[in-house]
Amino acid sequence: MRPGFFLAEALRSIRANAAISIAATVTVLIAVFILGAFIPSFLYVQNTVDQQKDKVDINVFIADSATVQQVNGLQRNIDGLREQGLVRESTYVSKDDALADLRERLRDPSVLEELPSNPLPASFNVLPADPGQSQQIVVALQGHPAVDADLGISFASDTADRLLTVARVIQYAGGALILVLLVASILLIGNTIRLSFVARRREVEVMKLVGATNWFIRWPFVIEGILFGLAGATVAVAMLFGIKVLVVDSWAADADSALTRNDAGTIGFLALAAILVAAGAIVGALGSGITLRRFLRV
C-alpha cells in the first residue's frame, strides 16, 4: 500500500505544481536531447575520420631493373618494420596488378590498349600501423636498391597530415565537450530540482511539524524526480527519433549524397535511447533525493 500512496502523492504534487513540473521536465528534456544529439554525432564524425585515416597508405615503387634478390631484400626490410610494429600490412602489387588496377579505375580503359608496354612499376603497398609514423617508414626504406629512383616512395603525406589533424582536433574537442555536457546536465537538473524545493520549503517544514519522518517526505519527491527524469528523457528520445527518421535516414537514403559512401558506424538508437532514459530517471531520483537532504533539517 505504501508505494501506491507515495506514487499518488508524487502525482498529486506534479499536478499541484505545474510550473515546477514543466520546468524540471524541460530541463531534463534539454539536457538529454543535447547529449542524445551530440554523442552519436560525435561518434559518427570520429568514426568517419578514423576510417579515412586507416586508408592512408604508402607505395614503395620497385624499379623495373631491380633483381629478384633486391625485391626480396626490400620485402624482408618491410617485414622487419612490421616486426617493429611500424607496419600493419603490406601487399606486393605486380606490374600487371597495377595495370589491372588502373584499368578498373579509368572511365575509358581503351586508352590503355594502345600502350606498347606496361609503363607502370610494381610496388609494395604498405599500410602503416599509425599514419603518423609514415615518414619513419619512408626514411627506413628510402635508398634501397630495389626502389625505383624516379618514383621513389610515394605516400600522401599531406592527406595523412590533414586527416590526422582533423581527427585529433575532433577527438579532443568532442571528448571535452561531451564531458562538459555531462557535468552541465547533472548540474542543471540538480539546479532545477533544488529551485523546485525552494518553492516548496514551507510545505516540507509543515510536513515535518505534523510528524512526518524524513523518508515519508522524501519518497514522493524521489518518485517525482524519477517521473520528471523519465518524462523529459522520453520526450527527448522521441524528438531524437523523429530527427533520425526524418532527417538522418533520409540523408542516408539520398544516393547522391557523399554521406552514402560513408559506412562509419555510430551508436545504435535503441542502446542510446535506453541509456538516455535510464540516465534521466537516475539523475532525477538522485537530484531529488540529495537536494532534499538540506531541506529535511527542519
Binding site: 500500500m1 500512496f5 498529486r12 504534487s13 499541484a16 505544481n17 514551507r202 510545505e203 517544514e205 509543515v206 510536513m207 515535518k208 511539524l209 505534523v210 510528524g211 512526518a212 519522518t213 524524513n214 515519508f216
Partner: protein, 238 residues
C-alpha cells in the same frame, strides 16, 4: 506530562523568547497560557514540539527528555502531540480533507480509518461542506478551524493550541472551546495560548501568565488578569 525546568531560549543575540521558565503540567490538566504580545507563548509551544531547542534547562514531555532526544525520534514525539499553530501551517496544495488526512497518513493510518475519521472531525469544526476546498479558498476563520481539526484528528495525549480562536467570531470560538473542553474531559492534556479574556474568565481553569519570557503567574481556577484573582464570576462552562 510536561515539565519545564529552568528553560531559557534566546533568539539570535538578545531577543529573549523564554527566560528560565520552570513549570510542570500534570496529565489531564487544562492550562491557559496568557501574556502580552511577544511574551513567549509561541516560544513555549515551539519548544514542546522540538521545533526549536532550548539554550538552557531541560524539557520533558510524556517522560521523554527532549534535550537528549535523537533527531529520528522527533516525528514520533510530534505525532503524540496535536498542535494548532498560530499561523495555521496548512499545506497549500492540498484540500481541507487532505490536510487533515495527512496527519493520519504520517502515522500509517489505513485508508478506511481515514475515510471514517476525517469527515467526523470536519463536521465537528463545521467544515463538512468545504472538504474539497484548498486553503486559499477559505476565510481566515475557516483555515483556523482546519488547523484545529488536524490537531484533533489523531486523538493525541497532549493537545497544544496557539490562539485557536484568534480569527473566530465569539460563537464559533465557544464551539471550539467546548470541543477542547470535551477532549480534555476524556483525559487529554490541553495547553492553550490565548488572548481571549472573556473565554479565560468564563472557563476558570489553570492560568499560566508570561511576560518577557518570564513566568509571572501560575494559578488554578483563575481569570485572564491578576486583578480578577479569585473573582470567579461564572462557573466553568461545559
Amino acid at each position: 506530562m510536561v515539565i519545564f525546568d529552568g528553560v531559557r531560549k534566546v533568539y539570535g543575540q538578545d531577543s529573549i523568547g523564554l527566560d528560565r521558565l520552570s513549570l510542570s503540567i500534570e496529565h489531564g490538566e487544562f492550562v491557559f497560557l496568557v501574556g502580552p504580545s511577544g511574551s513567549g507563548k509561541s516560544t513555549f509551544i515551539r519548544l514542546l514540539i522540538k521545533e526549536i531547542e532550548a539554550d538552557e534547562g531541560t524539557i520533558t514531555v510524556g517522560g521523554r527528555n527532549l534535550n537528549s532526544m535523537r533527531r529520528g525520534r522527533v516525528p514520533y514525539l510530534r505525532r503524540s502531540i496535536g498542535c494548532v499553530f498560530q499561523d495555521y501551517k496548512l499545506l497549500p496544495g492540498r484540500t481541507v480533507h487532505d490536510n487533515v488526512a495527512y496527519a493520519l497518513q504520517v502515522t500509517g493510518e489505513t485508508p478506511r480509518g481515514i475515510r471514517r475519521k476525517v469527515p467526523e472531525i470536519l463536521s465537528l469544526v463545521g467544515l463538512s461542506e468545504m472538504a474539497q476546498r484548498l486553503p486559499d479558498e477559505l476565510s481566515g476563520g475557516e483555515q483556523q478551524r482546519v488547523s484545529v481539526a488536524r490537531a484533533f484528528v489523531n486523538h493525541p495525549r497532549l493537545l497544544i493550541a496557539d490562539e485557536p480562536t484568534g480569527n473566530l467570531d465569539p460563537d464559533t470560538s465557544i464551539g471550539i472551546m467546548q470541543l477542547l473542553y470535551r477532549i480534555n474531559r476524556t483525559g487529554t492534556t490541553v495547553i492553550m495560548a490565548t488572548h481571549d479574556r472573556e473565554m479565560v474568565d468564563k472557563m476558570q481553569m489553570r492560568v499560566v501568565a508570561l511576560d518577557h519570557g518570564r513566568l509571572v503567574r501560575d494559578q488554578r481556577r483563575a481569570s485572564y488578569s491578576r486583578a480578577d484573582v479569585g473573582a470567579a464570576r461564572t462557573p466553568p462552562a461545559g
